[in-house]
Structures are given as structure tokens and as C-alpha cells.
């Protein structure tokens, strides 16, 4: 059952397209991973799905076309985008950031959401009154993911969560993401440069090169192809 179905998606920033006729699927409760080098168009993919950049093509979320909707309406439908750079509300407190994550639900089940999120990220509970901009890189990434979880989404878009973080923190983060995916039955579309760790999570892998999909299949397909494995996994 397809949660997210992207067909023939093209997008760009004005002078020519960055994405060319891309097709992506995320199954309900599944994890799809997009790998590729810098500039391959991975971030643009997520932005295009959310309507943050001009796009053409078809995006179906839970069978519903969203390619003409503005970003905030797509968010309200249950797509939580954890952007590149984390997108933290730096001048607001941790708890206010989380509160904003739950914006589309108002006060509905707010306390339960806080409780659940603090269970996944105990460190954030300790820092709940702290100004979000003063959190460490790892904590801000946790906050960004936690904010997404607060919205009780059907689909989470994750843009390079490992960026700039120490390996131990990255492992912790990915453990939590796997946990969230399993327990909340939330679909995940994950974009990463760090292929190795992402691959363990994936049930479907896409490889992007210069804005096009050059591989589409289960993780074993990438691991099985020797030259791709060398390039993207380093062994």
C-alpha cells in the first residue's frame, strides 16, 4: 500500500531543473532511502514534495494529489519534513518548538504527545525550558525529529540527519528513528549522504545522480553491485 507516490517529478530553482522526471515510492510504514552525492538533488526532492520549490509532476500522498498544494497545507495533511539544517526555532524554547510541532492538532492530546516524545528523547526533557538555539548540534537534530513526531504524522521526510554529527550520536539518532518507524507505524523518506547507516534502515533504496534515479530497489541490490558498492559504501 503506497503512502507516498511520486511520478515524473521535475523541479528547479529558476535556471534549469535540478530534478528530472523522478519517481519515488514510500510504502505505508515503510522506509525509503535516497542516496547520492552532493548536488544530486536529494534535498530538492524533499522540498519539491513539500511544495517549497517550483515543481511539475505528480505527488500522491495517501492516494491524494498534493502537487498543487502550498507547504503548510501539505504539512497539515500529515507530512512532517525535518529539513536540511534542522529548521529549529532558535529563539524559542525547546518545549515551544515541540508545541509548534503539534500545531495542526491544537490542544488535542498535547500532553500525551509531549510524554511520548520525551520518552524517545529524554535529553530534550532535561532541556525543555532552554532556548533551542543554544542546544548542541545533536540535540537540535533530536529536537527537529521530535517536532516532527509531535505532529503525529503519517509520513516523515528526513533530510541528512547525520550531517555534522559525531558517529555515536548518529547511531543513537538512527536507533530512535527505527523505533519511531516501528512503534508509530510512520512512513519515512530518508535522504542521506552517509549510505552505510541509512541502508540498515531501508526497505527500498533509490540512488540519485545529477537529478535522476539510477537505481531503484531493495538494499541488497546496492550491496550486490560492486562498483556502486565501492562508490557509495566504500568497500
Amino acid at each position: 500500500m503506497s503512502l507516498l507516490s511520486v511520478q515524473r517529478l521535475s523541479a528547479g530553482y529558476g535556471h534549469g531543473d535540478v530534478l528530472h522526471e523522478v519517481a519515488i515510492e514510500v510504502a505505508k510504514g515503510g522506509v525509503s532511502v535516497v542516496l547520492g552525492a552532493n548536488g544530486a538533488g536529494k534535498t530538492t526532492l524533499l522540498r519539491a514534495i513539500c511544495g517549497m520549490v517550483a515543481r511539475r509532476g505528480s505527488v500522491l500522498f495517501d492516494k491524494r494529489p498534493v502537487d498543487r498544494l502550498p507547504t503548510e497545507e501539505i504539512a497539515r495533511l500529515g507530512v512532517a519534513h525535518v529539513p536540511e539544517g534542522r529548521g529549529t526555532f532558535a529563539n524559542l524554547t525547546t518545549e515551544e518548538n515541540l508545541r509548534l510541532g503539534a500545531y495542526r492538532h491544537g490542544r488535542n492530546q498535547l500532553e500525551e504527545s509531549y510524554a511520548r516524545v520525551y520518552q524517545y528523547f529524554p535529553r530534550l526533557a532535561e532541556r525543555r525550558r532552554q532556548q533551542a538555539g543554544t542546544l548542541s548540534g545533536g540535540e537540535q537534530q533530536m529536537l527537529a525529529i521530535a517536532r516532527a513526531v509531535m505532529s503525529r504524522p503519517a509520513l516523515i521526510l528526513l533530510d541528512e540527519p547525520s550531517f555534522g554529527l559525531a558517529p555515536l550520536i548518529v547511531e543513537e539518532l538512527y536507533r530512535i528513528v527505527r523505533d519511531i518507524n516501528a512503534r508509530e507505524r510512520v512512513g519515512v523518506l530518508l535522504v542521506e549522504q552517509n549510505a552505510a547507516i541509512a541502508l540498515d534502515l531501508a526497505d527500498r533504496v533509490y540512488l540519485f545522480e545529477v537529478g535522476r534515479v539510477v537505481l531503484d530497489g531493495p538494499p541488497t541490490q546496492l550491496r550486490g553491485d560492486e562498483s556502486l558498492r565501492r562508490t557509495y559504501l566504500g568497500y
Binding site: 528547479g12 535556471h15 534549469g16 531543473d17
Partner: protein, 314 residues
């Protein structure tokens, strides 16, 4: 290059035709030329230099008053007084610029706005009354054409303004295309990068202020001669705002923009007046807002984008 030279010659030729117009039209054209010089000055600071000024009316006024005082109270001839007024303004502008360069956008806007607001007050103040003529101002006499040339005083002053404009525009054009201009624009676009490449940003910014004030001061001096009067209320903050309007509507960072802007600020208020006697300013305001919607980068900017072909993507 040749097309540009031909274009400039054409503009000058058309302008010369103004000599044959009625006295009233000639006066209006004279003001357009004068405003063009003033706007060019402001454009150097704001368009090329990226520093906002809501107080250039003060430099215009300093130029005007300097000329008036020199001509009226001393025996300095007007043709010496004009560059003298410009020079004085340049120095004042440079000195103002020295501390002002430490202020960013909004703060500079406030500081220059304060300058524009305060200037008429200072002119009216008791202490300077002997020099400035206080609220009454100073009246000047008409300038006769020299050497018994067959030109009326109005035509002569128009020629003086036109010649000054051509000279100053040429200087500005060369300056902006050369080393100085590139430094000024580099500072506007990325001051940190410019400074790390060895450009003395503070000095250049102050120099830009001085240069800008010089141009506007010369315009003010010419304005005093054309209008034959200087008074504190002629240099209220409205003048400063008009100049900013002219520079933006004409087109920032553009030499030709100064001309379009001058045409705008001279003729549109009159047009607004003829459309509505009751609320001419309202019409002016509406025209202003619509101009920005239609031409966000000013007249010069819009012309530029019509002329350049947009590049096709791969």
C-alpha cells in the same frame, strides 16, 4: 561603445531643443537636469554603494545655501561658487560619513533622516540668522549670459546646468566603471569579502558619502541659481524623501536611472495635481505604489531586463 556615445549625443541634442521652449517649460527642464545631478549623487551612495540616505535634501540645501551666501554676501562669482558649494558639501558629507559608516541599514536611515529633519530647524535657528537670513531666506538675482551671447537668463542657466550635468555624468560613468566603482560595489555586495581583499571599506564608504554629497551639493547650488531663492522651508525632509523616491523609481545603480527619476519627481506630482485637486498627494502615492508593482527595479531596471535576453536552461 559607439552606440552608447551616439545615445548620449542624442540625449544631449534633444535636451538642447529645450532651449526653444517657453520660459515655463524651460524652467521645468532646468529643474529636471538639476534633480538628475542630485539623484546621480544619491545613486552613487545608495545604488552603487548600498548605503541608504533619507537626508540628502540636507546636502542639497547646504549646496544651495553656500552658493547663496557666497554670491549674495561676498563678491565670489557664481561660476566659482558652484564648485565651491559642491566642495563644501563633499567635505561635510565625508565628515558625516566617517561615523555613519559604522551604522547599518536601519540605523543609517534614522541618522540620515534625522539630518534631513533637523536641517531646516538649524537654518531657522537664531544663532545662524545673520548668515542664512533665518525664516526669510535669501533672494538671488538672475544670472546674465556672458560675452553678450544671444541667450536669455533662463536659457543661459539651462545651458550651465546641462553642461555641468554632462560633465558630472561623464565623470560618474568613468568612475563607476573603473577601480573605484568596482571597490564601491564590492563593498555593497559583500563588505567582509571586500575588506579581506584589501579594500579599506570604512574609507571608501566615507569617500562615497563625500562624493555623493558633492554631486547633490552642486545640484543644490544650481537649484539656488535657477529658483533665485533659498529658504528653510524649501529644504524640508520632503525633499530628501523625493530624492529617494526618484532614485528607486528611476533605477538603482544606474547612471541613466537618475534621468528617469528626475523626470518622475518633477512631473508626476504636477500630473497628480491635475488629476485631483482635492487629494493630489493621494494620487501621487498611488502612482508611486503602482510604479513599484510594475517596475520593481525602477525604470532603468525594467528597461535592462527587456533588453537582455533571458538565458535558456539546459
Amino acid at each position: 561603445m559607439r552606440t552608447r556615445a551616439v545615445g548620449v549625443a542624442a540625449v544631449v541634442a534633444v535636451s538642447a531643443l529645450g532651449l526653444f521652449g517657453s520660459s515655463y517649460h524651460l524652467f521645468q527642464l532646468t529643474l529636471v537636469v538639476i534633480y538628475a545631478i542630485a539623484l546621480l549623487g544619491l545613486n552613487l551612495l545608495t545604488g552603487y554603494g548600498g548605503q541608504i540616505s533619507l537626508g540628502h535634501g540636507a546636502f542639497y540645501g547646504i549646496g544651495a545655501y553656500t552658493l547663496a551666501v557666497l554670491v549674495h554676501r561676498t563678491s565670489v562669482p557664481y561660476w566659482l561658487a558652484i564648485p565651491a558649494a559642491g566642495a563644501l558639501c563633499g567635505v561635510v558629507g565625508f565628515l558625516f560619513g566617517l561615523p555613519a559608516v559604522r551604522l547599518g541599514g536601519l540605523h543609517l536611515a534614522l541618522a540620515t533622516f534625522a539630518l534631513g529633519v533637523v536641517f531646516p530647524q538649524v537654518l531657522k535657528s537664531r544663532g545662524l540668522e545673520a548668515l542664512t537670513g533665518g525664516v526669510q531666506g535669501i533672494a538671488l538675482e538672475k544670472i546674465e549670459a556672458p560675452l553678450h551671447l544671444p541667450l536669455s537668463p533662463d536659457q543661459w542657466i539651462y545651458c550651465v546646468c546641462l553642461a555641468t550635468a554632462v560633465a558630472l555624468f561623464a565623470v560618474a560613468h568613468n568612475l563607476m566603471r573603473g577601480h573605484t566603482g568596482r571597490a564601491i560595489v564590492a563593498i555593497r555586495d559583500n563588505a567582509v569579502a571586500a575588506s579581506s581583499m584589501g579594500v579599506d571599506t570604512a574609507m571608501y564608504k566615507s569617500l562615497t558619502f563625500g562624493l555623493s554629497a558633492f554631486y547633490t551639493g552642486v545640484a543644490g547650488a544650481l537649484g539656488a541659481l535657477a529658483v533665485q531663492f533659498v529658504g528653510p522651508d524649501s529644504f524640508a525632509v520632503f525633499v530628501s524623501i523625493s530624492f529617494l523616491v526618484g532614485v528607486v523609481v528611476g533605477g538603482l545603480a544606474s547612471i541613466s536611472g537618475a534621468i528617469y527619476g528626475a523626470l518622475f519627481i518633477q512631473f508626476v506630482p504636477d500630473l497628480a495635481d491635475s488629476v485631483s485637486k482635492a487629494a493630489p498627494s493621494a494620487v501621487y502615492g498611488v502612482v508611486l505604489v503602482l510604479s513599484i508593482y510594475l517596475m520593481p527595479r525602477g525604470v532603468a531596471g525594467s528597461l535592462r531586463s527587456i533588453v537582455t535576453q533571458p538565458k535558456e536552461g539546459p
